[in-house]
């Protein structure tokens, strides 16, 4: 039989989506408090069960304590917020200045992203890491999409070899991140979903993405792409700085609105069926946190 105290602490831990080490530390602190109270009440003549029940009641709602603890630990500093948004600003800069056409600039940014992502991963996964990690995963996704654009037949053969390997790496990192907090997984996946949305719009009519349409589309839509990544940077800053969890979720829903409007406006509705599918998948992935939150509260 699960005791009142264990049940209380399980409820507390289930609601508190912060770093596991901090969460376990606070739970241990609450446990020592409850044990002290229980022992004191038992010394006054109450039964163990009655004492545990009163101890739990005097501590108050575990959900409320979890929410207040979350708000204490969930707000990052301005420095963290700006550093988290930096990769989005860098990509926006690439497109503002047409630096994306210069392989040297692109390689510098890729090397920087990979170094920062590995550094952050090894330093206990601080909150600023996740957007960088998203860009770290980007080449994995983009390569998979580009393989599909190879000449007839070859694309599928390459994809069949590549996709299982890429999925393994991808799922491993997403699972590790979601275990910490699924909102961080959304923050991490956001740049990939933005990129997927844009890739999806580059195929026109009956033609899915090709290298020729890709370069032409990147040039034509550079301004809208910049706006998308600036929106993502703004949402990231808001996500890091806001305390209440529901506001963090709302901040994650701003980019898909901006991006969907941009993609639909620039493509004028002429999108390949596969592209529609990718766009819908991206929007669904963006909306997942809201669904998860509603489920957690229900």
């Amino acid at each position: 039989m699960v005791s009142n105290i264990s049940h209380y602490l399980n409820r507390f831990k289930a609601c508190l989506k912060i770093d596991k080490t901090i969460r376990d530390g606070v739970a241990k602190e609450l446990y020592t408090h409850l044990e002290d109270k229980r022992q004191e009440l038992e010394e006054k003549g109450l039964s163990r069960e009655e004492a545990s029940k009163i101890a739990v009641q005097s501590l108050g709602s575990p959900e409320l304590i979890a929410q207040q603890i979350y708000e204490t630990h969930a707000q990052g500093s301005w420095k963290e917020a700006l550093f988290s948004a930096s990769p989005h600003f860098l990509v926006a800069l690439l497109f503002t200045s047409y630096y994306w056409q210069n392989i040297v600039y692109v390689l510098i940014i890729v090397a920087l992203t990979v170094s920062i992502a590995i550094y952050g991963w090894q330093r206990g996964k601080p909150v600023w890491l996740f957007p960088w990690l998203g860009y770290y995963l980007m080449p994995v996704v983009v390569t998979g999409i580009l393989l599909l654009s190879l000449p007839q037949g070859w694309g599928w053969i390459a994809a069949l070899i590549y996709i299982p390997l890429a999925l393994f790496v991808f799922i491993h990192i997403v699972r590790q991140t979601a275990r910490r907090d699924w909102l961080y997984a959304s923050l991490m996946l956001a740049p990939i979903l933005v990129t997927l949305s844009w890739f999806s719009s580059f195929g026109t009519g009956n033609e899915f993405l090709t290298v020729s349409t890709l370069w032409a589309s990147l040039q034509t839509n550079a301004l809208w792409i910049v706006i998308s990544f600036i929106a993502l940077a703004g949402a990231t800053i808001a996500f890091i700085r806001l305390k209440p969890r529901r506001y963090k979720i709302i901040s994650l829903l701003i980019p898909p609105l901006v991006i969907s409007l941009s993609v639909i406006t620039t493509s004028r509705g002429s999108i390949h069926p596969w592209s529609w599918l990718i766009l819908l998948f991206s929007l669904f992935a963006f909306a997942t946190p809201v669904w998860m939150q509603a489920r957690a509260q229900g």
């Binding site: 530390g25 606070v26 241990k28 602190e29 609450l30 020592t32 408090h33 044990e35 002290d36 109270k37 005097s58 501590l59 108050g60 709602s61 575990p62 409320l64 304590i65 207040q68 603890i69 708000e71 204490t72 630990h73």
Partner: protein
Amino acid sequence: MNYGRELLKGNTDSLLLYLISHEPTYGYQIVKELEKRSNGYFQFKEGTLYPALHRLERDNLITGKWQILLNGQQRRYYYITTKGQQALAARLATWQDFSTAVKAVMQAETI
């Protein structure tokens, strides 16, 4: 609005800093000490203490350390930092000024 509760809410951090500045202490002892010193006036849901302690720790006003007692039990003791002592001194000065001003106004009315 419960005026007493609002006053307590606004001064919880100062009360915690004051108690911790006297001696390193832990959550349950703080609750008992607050009740004892205020003759039972300060009573609140005990769980609300921990978010306040963690907020003070985040702001580097106090620091928490786990300690193992002789009976093997572990407790997280809180210590005031230099920054915390400075913050407490400033808050106490403000409180004294405020309290003196309130008393002066109230006494002037009742004389």
